[in-house]
C-alpha cells in the first residue's frame, strides 16, 4: 500500500514535471502562442491586442516606416531563420528613429528601430536581439504582465497614461509603447527566459553564439556613458548587468563547440544596410546625446565599420557640441576622414565653419571654395559665397 502511494506520488511528480515544459517559467506563465493563434474575443488578451492593433495602424501611416523592399526582405529572412513556424504571424516595421530599440507587441507587430540597426555589427547580433524580443512574444510575457499589473497601483498609472496619450498621433504612440513597456517592464525571470530562448533560437539558426554577449556588452558601455536624460528606451525596459553578459558568454562558450562553423554575417549585414548607414549616422549625431553617440562612433571605428564616415560624423559631433577644444578635435577627425578617401562635399563646409570659428580665415575660405568646387549645384551655394566674401 505504501509502495503504491509512493508510486502514485512519483507518477504525479513526473506528470507535473512534464507539464512544466509548457508553460515554462514562473508561476502564472501561459502556454506559448501557437502559429495563427488569436485570443478569445471575450478575453482581456483580446482587448490588449485591439489596443496594439490601433497603435500598429498609426505606425503604418506615420511616415517613419522604411518601406525599402530589400531591407525589409533581409530583416524578414532573419526573423524566419530564427523561427520559421511563427514567421508568417510577425509583421515587421523598420522604424526610422535613431535610438536603440526593438520590440514585439503581443499581436505580432515587431518594431526594429534604425538606431539598433546602426549599432549591430553583424547579422548575428541583430538576430540575437530580435530573437530575444520574439521570445517575449512567443511566451506571451506582456499578457502575463498585463494581468499582474492590473492588481497593482501601476495599473492605475497605465490606464491614466494610456487615456492621456490617446489620440496624440504616432509620437504619442511611441511614448505609449515605451510607457507600456516601462509599466510592463518584464520581470527578472521573464528577461532571463527571453535571454535563454533568444539565445537558443539564434544558435539553432546557426548564428555565432558569442555575438549575443557582444551586443549587450556594447550597449552596456553606451549606457554607462549616457547622460541621465538620454538613457536608452531599450534599457528602460531591459535592464542589463555584468551577470547577464557573463551568463550569455558562458552559454556561448558551451554551445560554440557543438558546430564547426557559425554564421556571423558581417558582409551580408553591411551590404544590406549600406544604402542607409550615412543617413542613420547623421540622425544619430543630430539627436543631441554627444556622450552616447561618441561611444557608438568610436565602437564602429574600432570594429572598422564605416571608418571614413565615422570619422566625419565624430567631427560633426564635436563641431556641433562646440565646447573648449572641440574645434581642434573636429578638424582632426575631418582630416582623418579625408585621408581615408571620403569625398562627401559637406566635409569641406564643416571644415570651413570650424576654421572660421577658430579664426583661421584663410583655411576657412579655402574650405568653403573646395565645398563649392566639389558641389557646384549646392542648394546653399549663394550663402556660402557670402561667407567667402566675408572672409576676404
Amino acid at each position: 500500500m505504501r509502495f503504491c502511494r509512493i508510486l502514485f506520488f512519483l507518477c504525479f511528480v513526473c506528470v507535473g514535471c512534464l507539464s512544466c515544459a509548457t508553460p515554462r517559467g514562473a508561476p502564472g506563465a501561459l502556454d506559448d502562442i501557437q502559429p495563427g493563434q488569436r485570443p478569445d474575443p471575450s478575453s482581456d488578451e483580446a482587448g490588449l491586442w485591439l489596443y496594439m492593433d490601433r497603435i500598429e495602424s498609426r505606425l503604418k501611416s506615420s511616415g517613419r516606416v522604411i518601406t525599402d523592399p530589400s531591407l525589409n526582405a533581409y530583416v524578414r529572412q532573419i526573423v524566419c531563420n530564427l523561427d520559421p513556424i511563427h514567421c508568417a504571424d510577425i509583421r515587421i516595421y523598420i522604424v526610422d528613429t535613431p535610438n536603440f530599440n526593438a520590440s514585439m507587441a503581443p499581436n505580432g507587430c515587431m518594431q526594429v528601430w534604425t538606431g539598433l540597426m546602426l549599432r549591430a555589427e553583424n547579422e548575428a547580433q541583430l538576430a540575437y536581439v530580435l530573437g530575444h524580443e520574439m521570445a517575449h512574444y512567443l511566451r506571451r510575457h506582456s499578457v502575463q504582465q498585463w494581468r499582474t499589473v492590473r492588481n497593482t497601483t501601476s495599473a492605475l498609472a497605465f490606464f491614466s497614461l494610456a487615456t492621456a496619450l490617446a489620440g496624440v498621433g504616432f509620437a504619442g504612440d511611441i511614448a505609449t509603447l515605451v510607457a507600456v513597456g516601462a509599466i510592463f517592464a518584464y520581470s527578472r525571470d521573464q528577461e532571463r527566459e527571453a535571454d535563454l530562448i533568444g539565445f537558443e533560437m539564434m544558435a539553432k539558426a546557426g548564428y555565432e553564439p558569442l555575438q549575443a554577449a557582444e551586443i549587450w556588452r556594447a550597449l552596456m558601455a553606451e549606457e554607462e556613458a549616457a547622460e541621465q536624460s538620454s538613457k536608452s528606451i531599450f534599457f528602460a525596459t531591459h535592464p542589463t548587468s555584468a551577470e547577464r553578459i557573463a551568463t550569455l558568454k558562458d552559454m556561448a562558450e558551451k554551445t560554440s563547440k557543438s558546430r564547426d562553423s557559425w554564421i556571423r554575417g558581417r558582409q551580408e549585414y553591411m551590404a544590406a544596410t549600406k544604402p542607409f548607414r550615412m543617413s542613420w549616422l547623421g540622425e544619430e549625431v543630430q539627436k543631441g546625446s554627444p556622450k552616447t553617440t561618441g561611444v557608438v562612433l568610436n565602437r564602429l571605428l574600432k570594429s572598422e565599420i564605416d571608418p571614413p564616415e565615422a570619422h566625419f560624423f565624430l567631427g560633426e559631433l564635436y563641431r556641433l557640441r562646440g565646447e573648449g577644444g572641440d574645434c581642434e578635435t573636429a578638424c582632426s577627425e575631418y582630416r582623418k576622414a579625408l585621408e581615408m578617401g571620403m569625398t562627401r562635399p559637406e566635409i569641406y563646409k564643416s571644415l570651413g565653419m570650424v576654421y572660421w570659428r577658430a579664426g583661421k580665415k584663410k583655411e576657412a575660405r579655402e574650405s568653403f571654395m573646395e565645398y563649392l568646387k566639389a558641389n557646384p549645384d549646392a542648394s546653399d551655394r549663394r550663402i556660402i559665397e557670402t561667407y567667402i566674401h566675408q572672409l576676404r
Binding site: 498609426r58 501611416s61 506615420s62 511616415g63 517613419r64 526610422d96 528613429t97 535613431p98 535610438n99 501601476s154 498609472a157 497614461l161 492621456a164 496619450l165 496624440v168 498621433g169 504616432f170 509620437a171 504619442g172 511611441i174 511614448a175 515605451v178 510607457a179 516601462a182 509599466i183 517592464a185 547622460e227 541621465q228 536624460s229 538620454s230 538613457k231 536608452s232 528606451i233 528602460a236 525596459t237 540622425e283 543630430q286 539627436k287 543631441g288 546625446s289 556641433l320 562646440g322 563646409k349 565653419m353 572660421w356 570659428r357 542648394s379 546653399d380 549663394r382 550663402i383 556660402i384 557670402t386 561667407y387
Partner: protein, 210 residues
C-alpha cells in the same frame, strides 16, 4: 449642477487653451524688435512667448515670430533639460539651420525616456510637439534681407506626427546678438500655398527701428 458646469467648460476644452485676438494689418509690432504689415487681418495668439498668426488654424497653417537671445533655446520648454540646443550669436546661417533642426528634434522627438521609465511623463510636452522631427529636411539656404538687415532664408519640409506632409519657409537675421526668425508652416496639400503670398508680403514688410 455638476453636468451644467461641465457643459459650460466644454467649448473651452474643445478649442484648446490658446486665446486668439485679431492682429491689425498695419504696422504690427513684434515685441520691441521690429514691425511688419499685412494686407489681411490674422488671428494672433501667444504661444509660450512666441507670437503666432494664423488664418485657418495653427494645425493647417501658422506664421510664428521667434526671437532668441544668445545662450537661449529656440523654444522655452517646461523642463530644465540641459540638452536643449542653445543659440549662439556667432552662428553662421548654416549653423542657425542646424540649431533650428536640432531644436525641433529635441522638442518633438525628445520624449524623455528616463522619465518614461520612471512613469513620470510630461504628456503636455508630447502634445506640444506636433511634428515628427526626424523627418525635417532643410534646403535652399540663401541670403535674404530682413528689413534693412542682411539676413537669410530657407525652405524646409517635414511630416506631422500623423504622417501629414508639411512645408515651411523661414526668414531670419541675427541682430544685436539676437536671432530673429519668422517661420511659416502649412500642410503641403492646399493650406501652405493658400496663404504663402500673404506671408511673402509680411516677410518683405519688416521695419527695424534705428
Amino acid at each position: 449642477m455638476k453636468i451644467k458646469s461641465l457643459l459650460l467648460l466644454l467649448p473651452f476644452l474643445i478649442s484648446g487653451c490658446a486665446h486668439y485676438s485679431l492682429a491689425p494689418s498695419e504696422g504690427r509690432p513684434i515685441g520691441d524688435l521690429y514691425s511688419v504689415e499685412s494686407r489681411i487681418a490674422w488671428s494672433r495668439a501667444d504661444e509660450g512667448g512666441i507670437e503666432l498668426w494664423t488664418i485657418d488654424g495653427p494645425l493647417l497653417e501658422a506664421l510664428r515670430f521667434i526671437s532668441v537671445k544668445d545662450g537661449d533655446p529656440l523654444i522655452q520648454t517646461t523642463d530644465k533639460d540641459a540638452r536643449v540646443p542653445r543659440f549662439r550669436a556667432h552662428m553662421t546661417p548654416s549653423e542657425v539651420t542646424e540649431f533650428f533642426v536640432a531644436s525641433l528634434r529635441t522638442i518633438s522627438a525628445g520624449i524623455d525616456t528616463h522619465q518614461l521609465s520612471k512613469g513620470m511623463v510630461d504628456v503636455r510636452r508630447i502634445r506640444e510637439g506636433g511634428i515628427d522631427a526626424s523627418s525635417i529636411h532643410v534646403r535652399n539656404l540663401r541670403p535674404a534681407s530682413f528689413g534693412r538687415l542682411p539676413g537669410f532664408r530657407f525652405d524646409f519640409d517635414f511630416l506631422s506626427k500623423e504622417g501629414l506632409e508639411r512645408e515651411g519657409i523661414a526668414l531670419g537675421a541675427i541682430h544685436d546678438g539676437r536671432l530673429l526668425l519668422m517661420v511659416y508652416t502649412g500642410t503641403r496639400e492646399y493650406y501652405f500655398e493658400k496663404h504663402r503670398a500673404e506671408v511673402e508680403g509680411v516677410f518683405s514688410s519688416v521695419q527695424i527701428p534705428k
